[in-house]
């Protein structure tokens, strides 16, 4: 229990900084909307004539009303997702391997508590971090949308989108934990998770370029949930949801296994 409290205390400053960055980005995105809104209905006619492939690259759907803030938000969602995944990936990779990095593993792991319990408490602390981060994202999004239209009408869809964000964050948290368990030091763990984040992001771009690559979508968590679909059609791809859940469970369970087996170097 103490472990959770200590983890949260140590993570407080980084959490504030990451949340601050998120608030800044959401604000920057939504404030820019005001300039865009002035171009009016003509933009919609223009967008209607774009071939589908270009729409998919920019994340625009077939009958979107681009003068609406919420539509804008769903397009920007991919960008917010990028920051969130970096945060959660790093969190996962570092939360246990930082003990080795900071040379405190000799202190922590000789305490009369099983390694499993330690890892569990750390994961709980990480989840708490993610929840706070998502809460901040949620509230900031609502406030920024409120500037242009009554947020009460979209609370539901924004909540669903943030839930999707949380799911993708969990996937990267799990991957980070797994890599932290496998790698001998924190430097390798962070490098590997960075590689995976960049790789899956680029894969998402490549998939949107070439329709035939849709079958590789399972490789990149960025594609599992589509913000447009969720916000406007309240639709979630069930296969992807199960894939995400499966991946999260697999990663977390394997990380337990690896941390149990590993020689913790100090």
């Amino acid at each position: 229990m103490n472990i959770i409290k200590r983890e949260i205390k140590t993570n407080l400053k980084p959490l504030l900084i990451w949340s601050g960055a998120m608030i800044f980005l959401i604000y920057a995105g939504m404030v820019k909307y005001s300039a865009f809104a002035q171009t009016g209905e003509a933009v919609n006619d223009f967008v209607d004539s774009i071939p589908d492939i270009m729409k998919s690259i920019f994340g625009i759907e077939a009958d979107m009303d681009l003068t609406s803030v919420t539509v804008f938000y769903s397009i920007f969602f991919t960008y917010f997702l990028l920051l969130a995944t970096v945060h959660s990936g790093m969190l996962g990779a570092l939360i246990v391997s930082k003990e080795e990095r900071d040379k405190t593993s000799e202190f922590l792991f000789v305490k009369p508590i099983t390694r499993r319990k330690i890892v569990s408490y750390k994961i709980i602390a990480a989840l708490f971090n993610l929840l706070v981060f998502d809460m901040v994202t949620f509230i900031t999004s609502l406030l920024c949308i409120q500037l242009y239209q009554p947020a009460s009408s979209v609370i539901g869809s924004i909540f669903l989108v943030i839930a999707a964000l949380f799911a993708i964050q969990l996937v990267f948290l799990g991957l980070g934990l797994l890599l932290g368990g496998i790698s001998k030091n924190s430097k390798k763990a962070t490098s590997l998770i960075s590689f995976i984040i960049m790789g899956t992001f680029l894969l998402k771009i490549i998939i949107s370029l070439d329709e035939d690559l849709k079958s590789f979508s399972f490789l990149t968590p960025f594609v599992y949930f589509d913000s447009g679909e969720i916000m406007f059609h309240n639709k979630i791809d069930l296969p992807y949801l199960f894939l995400a859940i499966g991946l999260i469970l697999f990663c977390i369970i394997s990380s337990y296994y690896f941390y149990q087996k590993r020689d913790l170097l100090d």
């Binding site: 980084p14 990451w18 960055a21 800044f24 980005l25 920057a28 995105g29 820019k32 909307y33 300039a35 865009f36 171009t39 003509a42 933009v43 223009f46 967008v47 004539s49 774009i50 071939p51 492939i53 270009m54 920019f58 397009i75 920007f76 960008y79 917010f80 990028l82 920051l83 970096v86 945060h87 790093m90 570092l94 930082k98 990095r101 900071d102 924190s186 430097k187 962070t190 490098s191 960075s194 984040i197 960049m198 680029l202 771009i205 490549i206 370029l209 070439d210 035939d212």
Partner: protein
């Protein structure tokens, strides 16, 4: 000289990984040009009929993605991103390495001024960045000619885009060294490197949807954007000056701060 050789020995592995990554990503994207060309040609037809204000509002400007130059400007956006991450990582790692590996009292008690030490690190950084750009330029030029069998490769534009990688990297080297100089101890480099680079990158992506001329000054990814290179048929001298001035400014501040800094040896 000794110091430079030692620094190179310590960092050559990540240099190889990132340079390889740059080249591989470039080649992969290039190989998709063929299939992308067909879809983009359709878009060009449509865009031809629209007034420039709408195109600008949407961030399309005059980028013709079905042509090699347009596609290159699109793909270089991601190449620059990877380069920027490497530059930030390099800048931050090199200056904070001593504190992290507890070798500060070894290096800093040697009969050389701190300025000389920082200069040595800076030379190493510039060496790696320069070499990476050189390798990338030659390999990508060669592979473009081989893969696409194009005799119509716009060499000047291509060179400008490759230069843009170098210039953006200089910016992030500056920021990286500044962070490393200011913070007492950086326990983990990657979260900071990825976080900072992605915040700047997301700002640029947000700006791509709404062309705000003022926002372009905030993020280095906007200085040498592919579409801007195509528009001006070259790099904007204004932005080159701003970029270099910022680089020199950051480096000078780093020198100053590092000289005055209390560096912990344990």
């Amino acid at each position: 000289m000794n110091q430079i050789l030692q620094e190179i020995k310590m960092s050559y592995r990540s240099f190889i990984s990132y340079t390889l990554g740059l080249v591989v990503v470039y080649i992969v994207f290039l190989s998709f040009f063929g299939s992308f060309r067909k879809n983009a040609a359709m878009l060009e037809e449509v865009l031809r009929n629209f007034p420039p204000e709408f195109k600008a509002a949407f961030g399309f400007s005059d980028v013709d993605l079905s042509q090699l130059s347009g596609y290159l400007s699109f793909l270089f956006g991601y190449i620059v991103l990877i380069g920027a991450i490497y530059a930030m990582k390099l800048g931050t790692t090199l200056l904070s390495e001593e504190v992290r590996s507890k070798t500060a009292d070894f290096l800093l008690t040697k009969p050389v001024t701190r300025t000389t030490i920082v200069t040595g690190k800076l030379i190493t950084i510039l060496f790696f960045i320069g070499l990476q750009n050189l390798i990338f330029y030659t390999v990508s030029l060669f592979s473009t000619m081989v893969i696409l069998n194009e005799d119509t490769l716009p060499l000047w534009l291509f060179t400008c885009m490759c230069l843009s990688i170098l210039l953006v990297q200089l910016f992030f080297v500056g920021i990286g060294m500044l962070f490393a100089a200011i913070f007492k101890k950086i326990k983990s480099v990657m979260p900071i490197a990825l976080g900072v680079v992605f915040v700047f990158y997301i700002l640029e992506m947000i700006n791509a949807s709404i062309m705000d001329p003022k926002l372009a000054y905030v993020t280095p990814f906007s200085y040498f954007k592919g579409s801007r290179i195509l528009e001006n048929n070259g790099l904007s001298v204004n932005f080159i000056l701003i970029d270099l001035c910022l680089f020199v400014l950051f480096i000078c501040i780093s020198y100053f701060v590092y000289n005055k800094k209390d560096i912990d040896s344990v």
